[in-house]
C-alpha cells in the first residue's frame, strides 16, 4: 500500500489511516456490539476497546464473538485464527451474519471504495457491470452488514470515491433517499456515520442526504466540498474534531507495528 498523508492536517504526526482509525474509534460506545471488517475497522474497534469502551464486543465475519486480537499479529482477513484468539465464542459464518439479522449488532463498521450522497457503497465494479473497467472484490459481508445494522464507514476522502451516484450498489445506504430504503424491505439499520480523513459525515433525518457533522483540524469547508463529487452542505458553525492523541496513536502503532493497515 502507498502512503497517503496529503489530507492529514499534520503529516508528520500521523497518517491518514491513523486519523481514520482514531476518529472512528471515538464513535464506538462502551457496551455496544460492533461487527467489524478487517483493516481500519478492526484497528479502530480494538483502539476503542482499549480506551473509552472496554466493554465493547467485537464480532468478525469469520464467526468470531468477543476476541482479543494480539498486538502485532493482525489477521489478513476476518477468517483466520488471529481473529479468534481468546474469543468468547466461535460460530459459523452464517450464524454470525444471522446475528445481524436477529438484531444483536449495534454497529456495523467497514471501509468503502466508493460512496454516494445517500451512503450507498460500491465495492463491486468501476464502470459497467457486464464489462467492468475495474472488477473489485465484491460485497463479502458488506451488503449484509449495511442491510441489517447501523453503519459506520471509514474511508479516504477523494472526489473519485465520493460520487453523485455509485456505479453499482454493493451495500445499501439509503438507496434513493427518503423512505426508499425502508420501502425496499430494509426497515432496520442504515448509514450512521462516514468517517474520512477530512471530517465526520452524517445523513439528514428526512432526505437521507450526506451532510458534514465535523471537520478535522485544519480542514476547511472548501476543501471537503472540493473533494466531494456531489453538493455537500457544511454548516457555518461546523465543529472541529480533537486531533488524535499520543495515547491513541501509541496504541495503534503497538497494534500494527508493521503498518499493514495504517501506512
Amino acid at each position: 500500500m502507498t502512503t497517503e498523508t496529503a489530507n492529514a492536517p499534520d503529516a508528520a504526526a500521523y497518517t491518514g489511516s491513523e486519523l481514520l482509525a482514531v476518529m472512528s474509534a471515538r464513535l464506538l460506545a462502551d457496551g455496544q456490539t460492533v461487527f467489524a471488517g478487517v483493516g481500519i475497522p478492526l484497528l479502530a474497534a480494538i483502539l476503542a476497546q482499549r480506551t473509552r469502551a472496554p466493554g465493547l464486543t467485537i464480532l468478525f465475519e469469520g464467526g468470531v464473538i468477543g476476541p482479543f486480537v494480539e498486538p502485532g499479529k493482525l489477521p489478513p482477513s476476518t477468517n483466520e485464527q488471529r481473529c479468534a484468539r481468546r474469543a468468547n465464542m466461535l460460530v459459523s459464518i452464517t450464524d454470525v451474519l444471522l446475528m445481524l439479522q436477529r438484531g444483536y449488532v449495534d454497529v456495523g463498521f467497514m471501509g468503502g471504495a466508493q460512496i454516494d450522497r445517500y451512503g450507498n457503497l460500491n465495492s463491486s465494479f468501476i464502470g459497467d457491470a457486464e464489462r467492468p473497467k475495474i472488477r473489485l472484490p465484491g460485497t463479502g459481508g458488506g451488503n449484509d452488514i449495511a442491510s441489517l445494522a447501523e453503519m459506520i464507514v471509514a474511508m479516504k476522502h477523494e472526489k473519485r470515491r465520493f460520487v453523485e451516484k455509485v456505479d453499482f450498489i454493493t451495500s445499501p445506504g439509503f438507496l434513493d433517499g427518503g423512505t426508499s430504503r425502508r420501502d425496499a424491505g430494509l426497515p432496520a439499520g442504515g448509514m450512521f456515520r462516514v468517517v474520512t480523513d477530512l471530517g465526520i459525515l452524517g445523513f439528514d433525518a428526512e432526505t437521507r442526504a450526506m451532510t458534514v457533522l465535523a471537520l478535522h483540524p485544519g480542514v476547511s469547508a472548501e476543501t471537503i466540498k472540493a473533494k466531494t463529487g456531489f453538493p455537500l452542505p457544511v454548516p457555518a458553525d461546523v465543529p472541529v474534531t480533537m486531533p488524535p492523541t499520543d495515547h491513541e496513536l501509541g496504541i495503534l502503532r503497538e497494534l500494527d507495528p508493521e503498518r499493514l493497515y495504517t501506512a
Partner: protein, 326 residues
C-alpha cells in the same frame, strides 16, 4: 449447473435430490484413498464447492490435484474465495466462480488475476452477499428449495443475482428475499482430523463447512491426519461432518498450504507475498509461471511443500500452534 437447473434458480427438484442421496453408499466404510484417486471423483463441468474461507482451510491439495489432472469448466462456489480462485481461472479448471468476495486478501490489494479474467469477459465472478451464500448452502443442507432472508434487498447485488426472489411474508406482510438452495455436486473440505469413514472433527472456525457437507451430493475430505473411529466415538459431540455425507478421505499433511489450518499452521505469508509479486505485473504470465513451478513440476504434495520451503513451513507451524499457548 445444467440449463434445467438455471431455470429454477439452480434448485435441484426434491425427488431428484433424494434419488441422488439414496443411490450413494452411505454406510460406515473405509474411504481412504490417494489425492490422485480422489481427483478422479470430480468430472468436468460439475459444481464444486470449497470449504474454509479466505486464507483458512482452503482445500488446496485437492485443488492442486484437480488442476494437475486438467479438469475443466467447473462451476465453483465458496463463501469467500482467495488465490485458489485465481488459479482455477488461470488453469482453465473454472470459468465461473460464485462467491461473496474474491481476492487474495485485503493486504495484497485487488487480485490482478481475477481482474484480468473477469474484465476481459473470459470468466464470470457471480456475486452474492456472504449471508446469501451461507443460506443457500443451508437450504441445500436442509432439503428445502430456499431460505428466507432480509439482506441484499434494494441492492445491485440482488439485481444481478440469478434466481433470488422477493416475497411478501404471509405472516407479517414484510418484504423478504428467498434465496435458492445450493446443492453442489462435490464439496471439497479440508479438516484437522477425521477417521477412515469420514467422521470429521473441526477445531476453531467452521465457516460454512458443516452446511456445505450436508448440502453437497458428494464430499471429498482432505485431512491433516486420519484418527481411529474409536477416538471419534470418545467425543461424538465434536464430530461436525458425518461419515454418511463423505465419499473420499485423503490424508494430506499441510493440505491447505499456503493457507492456514486452525491450530496447526497459519498462512505461509512469504509464499503469499511471492504469489502476489509473481502476478502483479503480468497476471496471465505470472499465474502461468506460478502454476508451472508449484503445480505441474513438483511430482507430489511433499515436493510442492518442498518448493514452498521448509523454513516457511516450520514458521507457519509454530505460529499456527500458538493459538493454544494462552
Amino acid at each position: 449447473m445444467d440449463s434445467t437447473g438455471e431455470r429454477r434458480g439452480g434448485v435441484t427438484p426434491y425427488l431428484e435430490l433424494r434419488a441422488a442421496t439414496r443411490d450413494r453408499d452411505r454406510s460406515l466404510r473405509d474411504k481412504v484413498m490417494s489425492l490422485e484417486e480422489a481427483a478422479k471423483l470430480v468430472s468436468d463441468g460439475e459444481h464444486v464447492s470449497l470449504g474454509g474461507c479466505t486464507a483458512s482451510r482452503t482445500p488446496f491439495a485437492m485443488i492442486w490435484a484437480l488442476i494437475r489432472r486438467g479438469v475443466k469448466d467447473l462451476a465453483v462456489s465458496r463463501s469467500i474465495i482467495s488465490t485458489e480462485g485465481d488459479l482455477l481461472f488461470a488453469s482453465g479448471a473454472s470459468r465461473h466462480i460464485m462467491t461473496s468476495w474474491f481476492s487474495q486478501g485485503i493486504v495484497w490489494g485487488v487480485s490482478k488475476v481475477m481482474r484480468a479474467h473477469t474484465e476481459s469477459g473470459r470468466a464470470r465472478f457471480e456475486e452474492w452477499s456472504h449471508m446469501a451464500m451461507g443460506l443457500r448452502y443451508k437450504a441445500g443442507a436442509m432439503g428445502v428449495p430456499f431460505m428466507p432472508m432480509r439482506s441484499m434487498l434494494g441492492s445491485g447485488v440482488l439485481d444481478r443475482a440469478e434466481g433470488a426472489r422477493t416475497m411478501e411474508c404471509p405472516f407479517t406482510g414484510e418484504t423478504l428475499l428467498l434465496v435458492p438452495a445450493l446443492n453442489p455436486d462435490v464439496a471439497l473440505i479440508h479438516v484437522q482430523r477425521c477417521d477412515a469413514y469420514g467422521n470429521a472433527q473441526l477445531d476453531g472456525l467452521t465457516f460454512m463447512d458443516v452446511d456445505m457437507a450436508m448440502a453437497a451430493k458428494r464430499v471429498i475430505l482432505t485431512t491433516e491426519r486420519i484418527v481411529s473411529n474409536e477416538q471419534i466415538r470418545r467425543a461424538p459431540d465434536q464430530t461436525k461432518i458425518g461419515f454418511f455425507t463423505v465419499d473420499a478421505v485423503v490424508e494430506v499433511p499441510f493440505g491447505s498450504a499456503p493457507h492456514e489450518c486452525y491450530g496447526i499452521y497459519e498462512p505461509f505469508y512469504g509464499h503469499m507475498d511471492l504469489y502476489a509479486a509473481m502476478t502483479a505485473k503480468d497476471p496471465d504470465a505470472g499465474a502461468k509461471a506460478y502454476l508451472e513451478r508449484f503445480y505441474h513440476e513438483p511430482k507430489n504434495w511433499a515436493a510442492y511443500l518442498e518448493r514452498i520451503g521448509m523454513a516457511e513451513l516450520l514458521d507457519a507451524r509454530r505460529r499456527g500452534s500458538s493459538i493454544y499457548d494462552d
